[in-house]
Symmetry: C2
C-alpha cells in the first residue's frame, strides 16, 4: 500500500457537512498526514468511486510555528488543513471551520466541555464559539472578520464600463462590491428561483471589471424582510452555501439600509439551499457567522479501496 | 428516533460501486428493513447531507415466496431489494447485483468460498459467478438474459417517422433497437466525446417512436475494434456505466457483424466512463456481463444524523 493508505488506515475518518458544504475529515492530531497527496484527496472526494465531498479537512493538532508558512498560528489548539476536491490547498472555508471545531470536541482534541476552540487556518487563527444541543455540539459561530464595501477592495476597476452587467441580469444600481478578504458581488433580485445562475454566474465572475474574478451573490428580500441567497462561487459554480458570501450579502444590505446591524445585537437570518445561516456584527465591526456543523458517519475505508491509492 | 433509524443503527452499512454506479448497501440478512421508507433512501443518497449514492441496496436473506410479489424467487440465497436515489423501487440493476453478490460473501450471507451466488431480484433469480483476487471477491459475471434486436420489443412504432433522429445527431441507418428486457437504442458515432448527450439523450428518449421511452447508447469503434460507450439512462441521465446498455450495444454490433460473438467463447471488452465491462454470449444465447464490484468503506451512521430521519 502507499504511504497515505497506510496512514489513513490508522486515522478516524468522518463525513460531515455545514449547510450542505460537505467534507471528508481526517482526524490527525499527531500530524502524520501533513503531506497528504493531491491524488488521495481526489480519490476520497470522488462522489462515485470514493466517499464524495467538496473537500478534505485534515484536522491536525496544535500547529508549530511555520506550519502554514508565514501565517501566524500562535495559540491555536487545532489546525484546519483544507484542500478542495481537486487536491489544491485552500486558505479558508467558513463552513469547514465550524465542522472542524465540532470534531475537535467530539474526538478529544480539545476538552469535551470547551466553549471555544482556537482553530488555525491558512488565513490565521479563528476563534470558534460552540453551540450544543442535547450535550452534542450542533453548530458554531465564527468570526469572519470585517466587511469592506469599498469597491476597490475587490479589484473593481472604475474605468471599466459595467453597464453590460444589467444586460446579464443584475439590476442596475442594485449591485454592490464587498470584500470579505475575498471578492463578492451582491445583487438583489425579485425572483431568486427564476435566475439562470449557471449563465449569469460565469458572466459576472469573468467580467473585465473584476481583476481577480468575483463570487456572485443574489439575494431576494421578501415583504417581511426575510433573506434568501444563492451564491456562484468563483472557480467552483453554484454551491449549497457560502459563508463569506452570506456575510457579504448582509454587509451589502446593511450598507443600503435594507437591514440594520447597529440596533443592539441584531441577528440577520439568511436562507441558503443547504439550510439557514445567521449573521451579526460585533462592536469591532466584525461579522460573526453562525451555522450548523453536522456529522453524517464515521468511515472505515476498505483495505481493497486503500490498496488502489497511488 | 424513527423506526428506520433504530434499525439502521444495528445493520452493517457500506458504500460500494460497480464501474462508478454507486450504492449504499444495507446488510439485512434478518429482513428487518423490508419496509424501508422512501425518505430514508433519499436521505442516505443525498450527496451533500447524506452519504451519497445512485441508490440503496437492502441485501436481504433468502426470500420467502411472495417477497417480490409474483416474481419467482425459489432457490435464491440472498435478495437484492433495490431502490433508486429518489426512493422508488426498481426491478434490476446490473452493476448492483455484482456488488450484492460480493457483499453476501464478505459478510457471511453465503459461504466464504462460494463460487456462485443465486440473487433474487424483482426481475427473477440471477446466478452470479464470483471472481477473486488475493482471496477477495473483486468482480462477478451476471447472466443478463438474451438480447432481442426485434424493434417491436422496445415498443418502437413502425408507423412513426424516425428521420428526425438523424437531425438529432444519430447517424442514419446506424442505429438499432435492442431489448434487454428494457428498451435500448444503440447508435455508432465517429467522435464519442464530441456528442452533446445532454441534448441528444432526452430528444431520443422522449421521441414519439418509442412508446415506453428508451435508453440511448452511443458507441465508438476505433480502428483496432475497441469499443467505447456512453449511455443516457431513461429517467436518469448520463451515467458512468449501464449494464444492460453495455449488453445491448454488443448485441447490436454483433447483429451488424462489427463484432463476432459466435466464434468460440469470444469476450468483447467495452470501455465506459466508470471502467471496463466484458460481454460474452453463452450457448443459450444469453449475454454474460463481467465487471468489478468494489467496496469503498463501512459506515457508522452518526446518532445525530439518524435522529433527524423522519
Amino acid at each position: 500500500m502507499s504511504r497515505d493508505a497506510d496512514l489513513l488506515a490508522d486515522l478516524v475518518v468522518l463525513k460531515a457537512h455545514g449547510t450542505g458544504n460537505d467534507f471528508v475529515v481526517l482526524v490527525d492530531p499527531d500530524d502524520t498526514l501533513v503531506d497528504l497527496a493531491a491524488d488521495t484527496v481526489v480519490a476520497l472526494c470522488d462522489r462515485h468511486m470514493g466517499i464524495g465531498a467538496d473537500g478534505v479537512i485534515r484536522l491536525g493538532g496544535p500547529p508549530a510555528a511555520g506550519a502554514f508558512g508565514e501565517v501566524e498560528v500562535d495559540g491555536a489548539q487545532v489546525a484546519m488543513d483544507y484542500r478542495n476536491g481537486d487536491g489544491r490547498v485552500v486558505e479558508m472555508c467558513g463552513n469547514g471551520i465550524r465542522v472542524s471545531a465540532r470534531i475537535a470536541v467530539d474526538h478529544g482534541l480539545v476538552a469535551a466541555d470547551a466553549e471555544q476552540v482556537a482553530v488555525a487556518t491558512r488565513s490565521g487563527v479563528r476563534i470558534v464559539d460552540l453551540h450544543r444541543g442535547d450535550g452534542v455540539v450542533t453548530g458554531a459561530t465564527v468570526d469572519m472578520g470585517p466587511a469592506s464595501t469599498v469597491a476597490a477592495r475587490i479589484g473593481l476597476d472604475p474605468d471599466v464600463d459595467t453597464a453590460d452587467l444589467v444586460l446579464a441580469g443584475i439590476p442596475e444600481r442594485h449591485w454592490s462590491a464587498v470584500s470579505m478578504g475575498n471578492p463578492h458581488v451582491v445583487a438583489t433580485v425579485d425572483d431568486l428561483d427564476g435566475v439562470d445562475l449557471a449563465t449569469l454566474g460565469p458572466t459576472v465572475e469573468t467580467h473585465d471589471a473584476f481583476a481577480e474574478g468575483t463570487n456572485v451573490n443574489l439575494v431576494e428580500v421578501d415583504p417581511e424582510g426575510h433573506l434568501r441567497l444563492r451564491t456562484w462561487e468563483r472557480g467552483v459554480g453554484e454551491t449549497m452555501a457560502c459563508g463569506s458570501g452570506t456575510c457579504a450579502a448582509v454587509a451589502a444590505l446593511a450598507d443600503r439600509g435594507v437591514v440594520d446591524l447597529d440596533e443592539g445585537p441584531v441577528e440577520v437570518e439568511v436562507e441558503v439551499a443547504g439550510g439557514r445561516l445567521v449573521v451579526r456584527r460585533d462592536d469591532r465591526g466584525h461579522l460573526l457567522l453562525t451555522g450548523p456543523a453536522e456529522v453524517v458517519a464515521r468511515l472505515d475505508l476498505d483495505p481493497g479501496w486503500l490498496a488502489r491509492l497511488a
